[in-house]
Symmetry: C3
Subunit: 207 residues, 3 copies
């Protein structure tokens, strides 16, 4: 395994961990019990990738095949419960990990679509689903209207990064730098959006 | 391709377009943002067929394989947003397209079940799922109790049309007229039900 | 077919029937209409096993392949509607069947995981999903926060029984007694928990 791949593996673990914490915090706000907190953490961390694997033929969901993800999520849940009073201080750090998770999951989704030889629009859809839909499933389970349907920048950035990666790949660029460029584009764009509190123009503004 | 098949293809496009508009209008009523409106339109238009493909082994969902559906839905979403103030006048037309979509999706679902050699009751279930469950998924995503659980005529007509097609096919009739008869039965029945505001007898009436 | 297998088949039928009644009663409390009551009964009875079949590659959901389940659920729905005013007296009996269903579904889920050669934690997850997630899907469809996220003992017992079965099997025990022991452990444990109203310690107690 090359150093770059090792770094990506490491960041993936961190991304899953961050997504799990994001889910556990939401569940604890809703005063769910231990099992509920774990399931919401689980659904947030692997929900997007699971939906991706379910809608593609002949794939068991990835966390059944690679049990390491379940252990990371158990760890993330335990961490969230133990340090739930101190996680407020960590919000910036968590948001960064969440962004890293979004970026990595998006590119992984596009890569699987390319591997399955789907069309461009389907590959980009798979990237967006993998990156964003853990949060949608989390919100459905705790009975909220999904957050990303109301703050579309999150998903829009995922669509942008997925498109960038697909186009570069389609033009014949297959080096690791294409992945890294797409991943960092998502991370930087989202950081800018969060920092400056940018919103897309609403569609109801003139009503 | 024969003329009849071309007509069915054309009507399918119209049905997807109408389902997408129905989803987009629901999402805009809930004041969702651009991405939310698109996702609800998407889920309404292809949710039933996706659930069907997911519960049958060895099938990728149809819209991953045929990207034309995604483009139609993007078009339907854009159309809904641009003309959202005028779509009130189009409600009757939209309701007709919605009915056509229900009819076509139902029969397509039964045909896939027959092709997979499932039993009659499973084929009818697949037809009903394909025809009706886009609306169920739409309602779950915007956090409502699904409409068809409260107004069962919609799904009941789908079950009736699916049963009619299955029985005629089972008796050895395989001509295009069997499809057309089943499709028009659904369209006419539903139009009658909507026009005369017919409801099935409630099960709580004597409570 | 041996007598023990016949007994298990018989109990399975009773479990599906009981789960269907549990779903139908929930739906009637929400004043859903005939079709809604049937769909909620259906989702409660086969939702866990369907989710299991969907996340494993190459499986159609079991009720498409074996239509007997659909007939049992139609029967359970009709039974619930006809006797809805008298089912209050049957609550203890129903709770017992519900527990039997939980126990059987849990062990069936683990067995399928072992057959697919998944790791221990994935087998236990499949058992818990098969046993508990019909109720989760029921609650999402009627727009409640899932009950088991707030009363975790139900799922915790499922996890315990699944672990017991997996460990015994992993240690080389493959006799029918391993299945029976695991099934009865779940039934007895849950009966004790319900009778004495035992709750796990909350995670918010010190807040």
């Amino acid at each position: 395994m090359e150093p770059v791949e090792q770094i990506i593996d490491l960041i993936t673990v961190v991304g899953v961990f961050a997504f799990a914490i994001s889910g556990a915090l939401t569940a604890m706000e809703k005063k769910l019990d231990l099992f509920g907190v774990f399931i919401i953490a689980f659904a947030t961390a692997v929900g997007g990738g699971s939906l991706r694997d379910v809608i593609i033929a002949d794939r068991s969901v990835f966390w059944l095949v690679e049990p390491i993800y379940t252990y990371i999520i158990i760890g993330g849940t335990a961490f969230s419960i133990l340090f739930r009073k101190k996680l407020g201080y960590l919000k910036t750090t968590l948001s960064l990990f969440d962004t890293i998770g979004l970026a990595l999951y998006t590119i992984i989704g596009v890569q699987i679509g390319i591997h399955m030889e789907f069309s461009g629009v389907s590959c980009i859809a798979l990237g967006t689903i993998t990156g964003s839909f853990g949060g949608v499933i989390r919100d459905i389970l705790v009975n909220d209207v999904p957050l990303i349907f109301q703050k579309e920048i999150y998903a829009t950035i995922s669509i942008f990064g997925a498109s960038l990666y697909y186009i570069l790949h389609h033009l014949g660029n297959t080096g690791i730098w294409v992945q890294l460029l797409s991943i960092f584009s998502i991370i930087i764009l989202r950081s800018i959006v969060v920092y400056f509190e940018i919103k897309l123009p609403g569609i109801y503004s003139k009503d």
